[in-house]
Symmetry: C2
Subunit: 212 residues, 2 copies
Amino acid sequence: MRMAELSERSGIPVPTIKYYLREGVLPRGERTGRSQARYGVEHLRRLRLVRALTDVGGLSIAAVREILASVDSPEPTAHELLGRTLEDVTPLTRRFGDADESDAERAAELVGRRAWCVPNEQRALTDLAEVLSAFRRVGHPVDEAMLDGYAAAVERIARVDLDFVGGVTETDEILERAVVGTVLGDALLAVLRRLAQTGESARRSGASADGR
Amino acid sequence: MRMAELSERSGIPVPTIKYYLREGVLPRGERTGRSQARYGVEHLRRLRLVRALTDVGGLSIAAVREILASVDSPEPTAHELLGRTLEDVTPLTRRFGDADESDAERAAELVGRRAWCVPNEQRALTDLAEVLSAFRRVGHPVDEAMLDGYAAAVERIARVDLDFVGGVTETDEILERAVVGTVLGDALLAVLRRLAQTGESARRSGASADGR
């Protein structure tokens, strides 16, 4: 298809597509004339991934270029790719300052106890320690029961997440789903959590009113 | 205690405490002289709540004043208070544009199906519809299995959350814990989710490698 059709089918304006070509996040089409090129369905798919990374993931074009370089490099496994992409999307999380040594140990212990097979250098491990320290600093440390309750719940969530990515074989689409599922999924979980809290709070206040 | 001791015990500088007094988010102390006042343990507690709302919750002083006005008004139930406070903290969530009619219906259906007893006007209900529409707009609608999987997981999380708030009787401390648990809790859950995804992904890629 021509540039005009690529724009129409993707819903992305021509100037934006040209910008992506210049920035190297969209491969050039096949030259068919002095100022014309032909684009295929792989360009459409790549455009969707770029939009997911920038609009949903909030990443810069430079960060997108880096992710795509590893997508296009020979033979990364889907598992490696997923890991790298999610690490890049993670910085969206608010920072809460440095972690105490004891919380770093606690984070490592939890990951070991749940057999999550996380490499020591994975940033999420440091992030976990930092959030645990933030709770402690505001005077409300997270106890083991709370941590294990959350851990059991997120294991269930992770199974749903992997099913969301699982049925797909194209690398671009796996990554696109991973980004969408992670970023929009965080928002979805946060809002569902508020609603479930309302339900649980109503249930408990009803129960205590009955018990009078 | 004097202002100096209040500052020392709370870790909040005197000029900041004076600012809170002027803004009406901290009640005046008992006058003991021309330019002296005495503060009690209720001032310490209130200072902690103000810090939790501003630093952890990211709220403006005006928003804090409004929450505190409802805390101090006669006889709100703990359940009402919790609801109002969490509504105020919720705007931290990123906005994703308007919801489709069909997603508004789906949100209402889910809440009914899970018996979460959410009032129709609660903002989280609109938020849920908006996030569902955002998934749809990027081409990856959330199916019922995913939605119900998440819902079951957040119900477990909500029980942990209510336990976190539950053992406490002082209104200020209930609210403080609710804010900390909601905001830091969202961050904690997001990072645990990444770790659990790594675990689940490793498990599945190991399983498929064994199965060859």
